[in-house]
Symmetry: C2
């Protein structure tokens, strides 16, 4: 049995939805269908969820909120008319209007795009509709609860042999609706796949799979046909954006392969992500699976003579960071020195300036750890070159650094742990794109 | 003013001692002379200190101890006779005999080689003799105390305009003698240089300076003419053995250059170690200053999904290591993984087996940190390629990894922090020598 998740652009208009229906009908194994709200039909268009974000925003003028709701209703009315399904959109819109009048909390309103889309697709496919609130459980703090979901899923969804389910949201024990972060329909799909024990999780998008490199940097970026969970995790963590990062965890836990496919080109082979770390799968002529990265890291370089002979020195540094609630990405060390690599976007500023927070952190590190020096390096980008065959293929590092050297790119730091399937390098933000192009050229041209 | 330290082979026999005297007299700035005990005259010979280690060892048979003392006396008698200095060796030997009878503690006896050598050289040079017990201070736990030494040095040694001083030992406040670890005369020399505010610390050995690479691996290993404190520190830390590691700290603190020279070839330029990290000093055609390394590291590879998003995860790992009193050298990380690199020789076993201690550590890491997996990799060697010009010279990493790839050496881990002047790689112990040869060939041939 296969769980399919269709993203917003796959459901943006009648033609797309008909393609989706054809895909579902094309394989009787496709029994559980998770949907996003309709996305943009063109680059000027608005996503349904963005309209609902306006409609639910109590800081906006009421007329703007109602206008957004009107556009919402008009788009869904067109869809319902085109598909000829018995769904009463005007009634549904007036229900949301009442929610707005009653000052309903935002999540309840924002979730209505997925809800209505699932209703419509269920009617069109003649599948049962199962609301996500009936089994996707959040705790009272609004955090997804796997344990409670497992219980509800067992009681509810397992009695259905097929269903269309809205993505993106669930509810707590009192029935209050909570949404996942944007892109969360991927997660709903993975949760469904986990609890119906699917043999495959198909994630239908508007791309031919997971790109080997950011297509904004490499115009004709290829997609990857096969990769392992771990490779996907490294690529998404490092910046590849096709897949909502946390969405993998439920299926990874269950060992279910993920097939990323293109609704517009269902004949394309897509990207198959499997649990196997078996290097035999890898193509020797392409030891690098993909390249990803992110800009804007901050590096604190701490020097202290004989640091390593002091048991507990790194623990003291880590304790100061923990007290400041700063998570760090890496901690490469030299002799008598250690670098703390912090992603600037992950620093919780609570309205204060990053510079002040870092200055405060440095001051505390100086007091608690008494280093010989602390230097701060800003504007560092990390680039991760990923491939499970890298471990067993000598010479990857040589090619990687050779490619960077030929482009005169100065590598500021290098990290590769012992069980790693990637080499992470640090370069200046300004060298980021050039570094990715150089690595791409070396391994993919 | 220059402080000179002469090592054991520089003082092994009359001819050597005459060379030393000529060197001291060759420059009137050489005012404070620190000596080791005489070393081996040939490879079959015994060092004076090794004889005293036997003589002081209460587990040995008394006749063997007295025989070692007899050889000790005979060697010094020859020296005194050859130099024609008024030192009463038989009287001195009978004093040590009484120490043995009175079950004196070992350090008191072991230190007598340096003591007597300093007496003899002082007489030969007609310099005052100043005993190290008068200013090199240990605390009651037998640890060197810089603060107390500063005070005593100020009261004592600064009243002399020149002196010969025995290396290797000092005393606590009650006059009880303590020795430094083997090679500690380097440290005594550095302490003297620090407190007499020398402009230069000359360390006279039996080599033409600091080797760029281990001469046991590269037969015609060159020496380095100039290097920075930090480069020397990286090389000695990573395994280069010319210099007792901690011996640098007093002179580094004081910013005094170290000149490593060869007693047998005083005309050789030797190695000048200076505080300057100025890259302009470096030779662009030789961006790598030296290569060093050590075998027998243990790597614990810890994997945990979303490790980096857990504030405090590394702190928890570091706390477990601290509780086990295990110091680690590096902690390179990937996505969802971190490797702990531990030098096996530094694990304090207290009679237990390393394997058991590591198993216990892994068990505690599992309980406290709840990782997805922990793998142990043994027999890892670290090789450090050092050069202060590396930071500013693109392409070093490319050449380094290219050289390793051509020799089909699999690089298991890579570490280079952001302010580093070295790249550290991990290879299998069995690839250690081949890795060093490959890197040497690339950068020095």
């Amino acid at each position: 049995m296969i769980v399919c998740k269709f993203g917003g652009t796959s459901l943006a208009d009648i033609e797309q939805i008909k393609k989706v229906a054809a895909i579902v009908r094309g394989n009787p194994e496709r029994k559980f269908i998770v949907v996003s709200a309709p996305g943009k039909r063109s680059s000027e268009d608005k996503k349904i969820t963005d309209l609902l974000l306006i409609a639910s925003n109590q800081d906006k003028k009421l007329e703007d909120r109602l206008e957004a709701l009107r556009v919402f209703g008009s788009r869904f009315s067109d869809i319902v008319a085109g598909l000829d399904v018995p769904v009463d959109v005007p009634h549904f819109v007036s229900e949301i209007e009442r929610m707005i009048e009653k000052m309903a909390y935002a999540d309840a309103i924002v979730s209505r795009g997925e809800y209505l889309m699932a209703k419509i697709l269920a009617a069109h496919l003649d599948f049962p509709f199962v609301d996500a609130v009936s089994f996707v459980r959040f705790d009272e703090h609004g955090r997804y609860s796997e344990t409670r979901t497992a219980l509800e899923a067992f009681n509810k969804i397992r009695f259905f042999d097929r269903a269309v389910i809205p993505g993106f949201y669930g509810a707590d024990g009192r029935g209050v609706i909570h949404t996942f972060p944007r892109g969360g329909s991927d997660l709903t799909g993975a949760i469904v796949a986990q609890f119906v024990e699917a043999k495959l999780y198909e994630n239908w998008t508007d791309a031919n799979g997971v790109y080997a490199v950011d297509p904004r940097i490499i115009a004709d970026a290829p997609t990857i046909q096969r990769l392992s969970y771990k490779e996907l995790r490294e690529l998404t963590y490092s910046g590849a954006t096709v897949f909502h990062e946390e969405a993998m965890f439920p299926v990874m836990k269950a060992g279910i392969p993920i097939h990323v496919r293109n609704t517009h080109e269902p004949e394309n082979i897509g990207t198959l992500v499997s649990p196997s770390e078996n290097v035999a799968d890898a193509d020797d002529s392409h030891p690098v699976t993909g390249i990803a990265g992110r800009k804007d890291f901050l590096v604190l370089a701490i020097e202290k003579m004989q640091m390593n002979s002091e048991v507990g020195y790194v623990r003291r540094i880590a304790s100061v960071l923990e007290r400041h609630r700063i998570s760090f990405e890496h901690m490469p060390s030299g002799i008598d020195s250690v670098s703390i690599i912090i992603e600037v976007a992950k620093i919780r500023t609570d309205g204060r300036k990053v510079g002040e927070l870092v200055a405060h952190l440095v001051k505390d590190l100086q007091e608690d750890c008494n280093p010989d020096s602390i230097q701060t390096f800003e504007n560092i980008a990390l680039v991760s070159t990923v491939g499970k065959a890298m471990r067993s293929t000598p010479g990857i590092a040589a090619r990687l650094f050779g490619a960077l050297a030929r482009e005169r790119i100065n590598v500021r730091l290098i990290i590769q742990g012992s069980s790693e399937i990637s080499i992470i390098i640090g370069v200046l933000n300004s060298d980021y794109e050039a570094a990715i192009r150089a690595i791409y050229k070396e391994f993919f041209s």
